[in-house]
């Protein structure tokens, strides 16, 4: 009985000591952190750094995690005091121990950035963000080109439907225009992408984007095209009819070709707006320019990404405006005297 008892006791004692020593070390570091926080909270940064410096390194028998934590906190405090070299030193201490520690690596990168001149930082940011932004811009461009190909056709159909004398067709086109012009594109995309699956139609994001933007822009262009057709002097239709043309022939050969020139300015406007509306497809988890910029901004908390995105958008707009003006000039060549 006694032997058993003493054995148990010895074992317990050993356990106890180990536990106690562990607890002691922990309590010690915790206490240091508490003090440092207190000091830091009270504004005495230098003292806080000193207290944190007392957390022992693992080689001196200290706890690894506590050490990392303390050195990173020192680094942050030094950084906030503008002492970048010391801040980097503290982070480097961590890196000597854990060369792959991402926190410390990020931190060192930040310090390096802070020490560089502004324009170098900016160029670095550009190098960092532009590849990703260009990828997003590529998607923006692809979407634009697709919609620019689809929506004039859709718009023409809607316009012809609207001016047709067959009431059900005309009413149906009116409804499409009313619905798609009357609700935010954001909501439309949402219903097409997230709503249709409950009807058994599951679209890929790109398809959904094309359908949503396509219908929306067809509705807008439909109204514009209708206006342009109605604005063509009625005499043109009469002259075509007097020659013996059918309604369809007159439309195809005489009326619609004359709308091109007056269509260009408002259509160009719509397409310029489209450049920016493509930003909305991020709702359905597509990565285009705006989203890419947003990702960079959220990841790096760096406004440069947004500025670069704005510049790319401006470049797109300017380029397309230029192209559209050229087309408008060509389309109206017959009006020049």
């Amino acid at each position: 009985m006694k032997r058993i008892c003493s054995r148990v006791l010895t074992a317990l004692l050993f356990l106890w000591i180990t536990a106690a020593s562990l607890l002691a070390a922990q309590v010690d570091s915790e206490e240091l952190f508490r003090q440092a926080n207190e000091l830091q909270g009270g504004g005495d940064l230098a003292a806080a750094v000193q207290v944190l410096g007392r957390v022992p390194s693992p080689s001196a028998g200290g706890d690894e995690e506590d050490f990392v934590r303390s050195r990173m906190q020192i680094a942050r405090i030094k950084f906030s005091m503008g002492e970048f070299d010391q801040a980097e030193g503290a982070a480097q201490e961590v890196l000597r121990l854990f060369p792959a520690n991402s926190e410390a690596l990020n931190f060192v990168a930040s310090v390096k950035t802070e020490k560089k001149p502004r324009y170098v930082t900016f160029l670095d940011d550009c190098r960092r963000f532009l590849p990703h932004l260009f990828k997003g811009a590529g998607m923006t461009l692809l979407l634009m080109v697709c919609i620019m190909a689809i929506s004039p056709l859709g718009g023409l159909l809607i316009a012809l439907g609207r001016i047709s004398h067959f009431p059900p067709l005309s009413a149906c086109c009116w409804f499409i225009i009313w619905l798609f012009r009357g609700t935010p594109l954001l909501l439309q995309l949402f219903f097409i992408y997230y709503g249709l699956p409950s009807l058994g139609i599951t679209l890929r994001p790109f398809t959904a984007a094309i359908i949503g933007l396509g219908l929306n822009y067809s509705a807008y262009l439909g109204e514009i095209i209708r206006g342009a057709i109605l604005s063509i002097d009625h005499g043109q239709m009469e002259a075509a009819k007097a020659l013996g043309m059918t309604y369809g022939q007159a439309m195809r050969r005489i009326i619609i070709p004359q709308t091109y020139k007056r269509l260009m300015p408002p259509v160009a406007n719509e397409f310029i707006a489209l450049i920016k509306d493509t930003a909305l497809v991020s709702t359905i988890a597509m990565v285009e320019l705006m989203r890419a910029a947003d990702q960079m901004f959220n990841t790096y908390f760096n406004v440069t990404a947004l500025i670069l995105a704005a510049v790319i958008y401006l470049a797109f707009t300017t380029l397309f405006t230029f192209i559209f003006e050229k087309i408008e000039y060509r389309a109206g060549i017959y009006e020049h005297r």
């Binding site: 009469e238 007097a242 020659l243 013996g244 043309m245 309604y247 005489i254 070709p257 004359q258 017959y334």
Partner: protein, 258 residues
């Protein structure tokens, strides 16, 4: 009906109303092949409306229309005329050329393109054939050298001559002119007048609505004075301009035209 040759065009009791206004009021008319008819009359008397009913640009409310001896253009339901479908109307229109006061050239086509358009699209001719016809017609109106310019660069007289060539390219059996010279500067009237005169000399059947007394005097077989949608006077030019025709209204009308 009473004349020897069969009429090319016959209108019978044509009536056309616009929201209460009776623009054409029970008009009957025969036009024989080769005949040149000039219609004059004050503004709003229904001249244009009558001309437009001939190629169905206006849908009549009552009456019948014969072209080349066949009644055409309308089916009658409950005694009222209803316009036929395009497949009936368009071939008849293709046989009738029309020239408008404001030309209505197709601005997006060159002069040649304008004149080729009818043969190409309506008559489905080949490009080369259409081109040949078009060039011949442009030569006839004296505008061969303008074939590749756009209408915007032409003077009013030139525009109207292109419009005439465009109508002629369809080789119509009947030509309708609605005030072909009233939109022209006084100086430019002459060239268009000469062109139409030339056509008349070739034997083209034509109905001309005009304010220009030259047409009535020099080219008409028959002059009709219209007022209030009706034919008030129908006579030869000689009779019409002679003072013997004791119509007070016509005299004051003629005097007002300077």
């Amino acid at each position: 009906m009473s004349t020897a040759s069969a009429p090319l065009l016959r209108l019978e009791q044509i009536t056309k109303q616009f929201k209460g206004v009776t623009a054409v009021d029970g008009v009957s008319l025969d036009v024989h092949p080769g005949e040149k008819l000039v219609i004059i009359g004050p503004s709003g008397s229904g001249k244009s409306t009558l001309l437009r009913t001939i190629n169905f640009l206006e849908v009549i409310d009552e009456g019948r229309i014969w072209f080349e001896g066949r009644e055409t253009g309308y089916v009658r339901r409950h005694g009222k005329p209803h316009l036929e479908r395009q497949n009936v109307i368009c071939p008849v229109r293709a046989e009738i050329g029309m020239v408008f006061q404001h030309f209505h050239l197709f601005p997006h086509l060159t002069v040649l393109g304008n004149v080729m358009e009818g043969p190409l699209t309506v008559q489905k001719k080949g490009k080369d054939e259409a081109r040949e016809t078009a060039l011949a017609m442009l030569a006839k109106v004296g505008l061969s050298e303008k074939k590749d310019v756009y209408p915007a660069t032409l003077s009013g007289g030139q525009k109207q001559r292109v419009a005439i060539a465009r109508a002629l390219a369809m080789r119509p059996k009947l030509m309708l002119f609605d005030e072909p010279t009233s939109a022209l500067d006084p100086e430019l009237v002459g060239e268009v007048f000469d062109t139409i005169h030339g056509l008349a000399d070739e034997g083209m059947t034509m109905v001309i609505v005009t304010h220009h007394m030259g047409f009535a005097r020099e080219l008409a077989d028959r002059v009709i004075f219209m007022e209030g949608g009706r034919f008030v006077v129908e006579s030869t030019p000689a009779e019409f301009f002679s003072e013997r025709l004791g119509n007070e209204r016509i005299r004051s009308f003629l005097n007002r035209l300077i």
